[in-house]
Structures are given as C-alpha cells and as structure tokens.
Subunit: 100 residues, 2 copies
C-alpha cells in the first residue's frame, strides 16, 4: 500500500515536472517567434542542456523510467527548435545590419 | 558485478548531465552580464523550468538520488539568478527608453 501511494506520487511529480519544463520551452519558442529575435539567448544554453538531456535520456532508458524518457525526448526537440530559430534570426539580423 | 557496472555508468551519466545543465545556465548568466540584456529570454522559461526543477527535487528526495537533488538545487539557484538579472536589465532598459 505504501509503495502504491509512493508510486502514484512519483508519477504525478514526474508528469507535472515534465509538463512544466516543456511549457517553459514552448513559451520561449512563442516569444521568439513573436519578436523574431533570440539574440539574448545563449546558444550554449541550448547546446549544453540538450547534451545533458541526451544523457538523462540514456539514464531513463537504463532505469526504464517513462517520464524521464518522454520529458527528455520532447525537451531535446523543443531546445533544438529554439536553437535553429535563433540561428535563423541572428543571421537575418546580421544581413539587415549590412544593408544599413 | 553487472549491477556495479550499471551503477558506475548511472553515476557518470548523472554527474555529466548535471554539469552540462549547470554549464548551460552559467553561460546564459555570463552572456547576460556581458551584454546587460536578457529581453529575448522568456521569463516563463525560468518560472516554468524552476517549477519543474522543484518537483524533480522532491522526486530526487523521495528516491534518494543525490545527483537529481544536487543538479536541481543548483539549477534552481542559477535560473533564479537569470530571472532577477532579466528583471533588473528590463527595468533599466525601460527607464532609459523613457529618458529618450
């Protein structure tokens, strides 16, 4: 019984933590898309955290934890989206600067 | 023996993932400090991911995983640093705008 309660609690924690982390990155994507600027966001933030997420993913696969696996696959996808949006906007910004 | 190898692997994964995630946020702090601008960084990114980290911290405490605990305490601290730096720079930027 105690184990069951703990597992339910862990499930709720895992799902809610995953949803919050993904919401954060989705918010960043929406903000970037609206302003068409991500120059203040460090590219190393996405590179390093994605690297960390890949290792967490491996960790999740080894311990067979579906929440760690799901959250990290989604997070890597969202962070890479921010990374490539930033690259595109930074490039566009540099080209506009040259025109002036 | 197999368990020992797996545990060593999990330890290495946990430590490296933690170091990568913290390095990403430290890079963001350094970039923000240099440029004195964090306006492109969504405040909800820090709020939501910190919320997720607090839940991961609770998860780590329940399953007694020192890497999850350590990484999340440090990550929360670093994300709050970015959050308050952003607040300060955004405010300074608005005040400068009013002067013009």
């Amino acid at each position: 019984m105690t184990i069951q309660i703990d597992e339910t609690l862990l499930n709720i924690l895992g799902i809610t933590a995953g949803v919050l982390i993904l919401s954060g990155w989705i918010e960043q994507i929406i903000k970037g898309y609206k302003t068409k600027s991500l120059k203040d966001v460090s590219r190393y933030l996405m590179i390093f955290i994605s690297g960390g997420s890949i290792l967490w993913l491996a960790y999740g696969i080894i311990v067979e934890d579906i929440y760690i696996i799901g959250t990290n696959i989604s997070a890597i996808f969202l962070m890479m989206t921010v990374f490539f949006m930033k690259r595109r906007y930074d490039k566009a910004s540099r080209m506009n600067f040259r025109k002036i």
